[in-house]
């Protein structure tokens, strides 16, 4: 069996192809796990909706009513909507 062991040793010394870069593997594993890396936040449609609605309301309040209290209230609402989103993303 010494010859076979010698051949295995030679094959080992010849090496194998290199794996992909670690960051590529990490990203691929994260995709498999359904995880979004914290340095690459991706907003979903669900996340964007409340923010967009609140901003539109703020603009409507400003343009048509000219009421600063409405404006402030809607901006506050928009800010509150973003809190759980930011907490979930860990930003």
């Amino acid at each position: 069996m010494k010859e076979i062991e010698g051949l295995l040793q030679r094959d080992r010394e010849a090496g194998v192809p290199q794996p992909p870069e670690a960051r590529y593997t990490i990203a691929a594993v994260n995709r498999r796990l359904g995880r979004i890396p914290s340095d690459q936040p991706a907003q979903t449609k669900d996340d964007r909706l409340p923010v967009s609605v609140a901003l539109c309301l703020a603009l409507v309040a400003l343009l048509y009513f000219g009421l600063t209290t409405w404006l402030l209230a809607t901006l506050l609402l928009a800010a509150l909507c973003t809190v759980p989103i930011l907490l979930r993303k860990g930003a």
Partner: protein
């Protein structure tokens, strides 16, 4: 337990080499490596510190390869080689022939070994795992590891002596 990033950075090279030698294909090895890391990360709470992280990852990878191979065998895509008849014997002429064989022939022949023998040989000769560690990875007694390695070497020898495996 390490983070996913640490796991990949520290262990992807040996894990990829193991899977590449088990499968003989870069893309498949890459895919199985990603799946191994994903499963390891999901099962992190089941990790026991008495086994090294590398041994633990190898055992997940070996299970993945075995599951895939069994699935393919059931579908008839890749037949098990347990019943393959190969010429036996050990002569000086054969020893001489083996000396002329290139390592590429070994690389081609390894994936033709039965999966249990292949895993044991690769872990022993390419990753320097002890018999005890191999037994842990393959979830079998140490005596079984010894016999798999012995039978694997004998089968590899016979495979290499077949005309189609020997490099021209």
């Amino acid at each position: 337990m390490e983070t996913l990033e640490d796991l990949v950075v520290h262990h992807q090279e040996p894990l990829f080499a193991f899977l590449y030698r088990m499968c003989g294909e870069v893309n498949l090895a890459e895919e199985l490596m990603q799946e191994t890391f994903a499963r390891a990360f999901q099962a992190a709470q089941r990790y026991r510190p008495e086994a090294s992280v590398r041994t633990w990852l190898f055992s997940i990878a070996a299970n993945l390869v075995r599951d895939r191979w069994r699935r393919l065998a059931r579908r008839g895509e890749e037949l098990p080689l347990e019943d393959l008849t190969l010429p036996g014997g050990s002569t000086t002429a054969e020893d001489e022939a083996l000396r002329l064989i290139s390592y590429e022939a070994v690389r081609s022949a390894l994936p033709l070994l039965p999966i249990e023998q292949r895993s044991a040989l690769i872990l022993r000769y390419y990753h320097d795992l002890s018999y005890e560690e191999i037994a842990r990875v393959l979830a079998c007694p140490i005596g079984t590891v010894r016999s798999r390695i012995h039978n694997g070497l004998a089968r590899l020898r016979r495979l290499l002596l077949r005309d189609e495996v020997i490099a021209p």
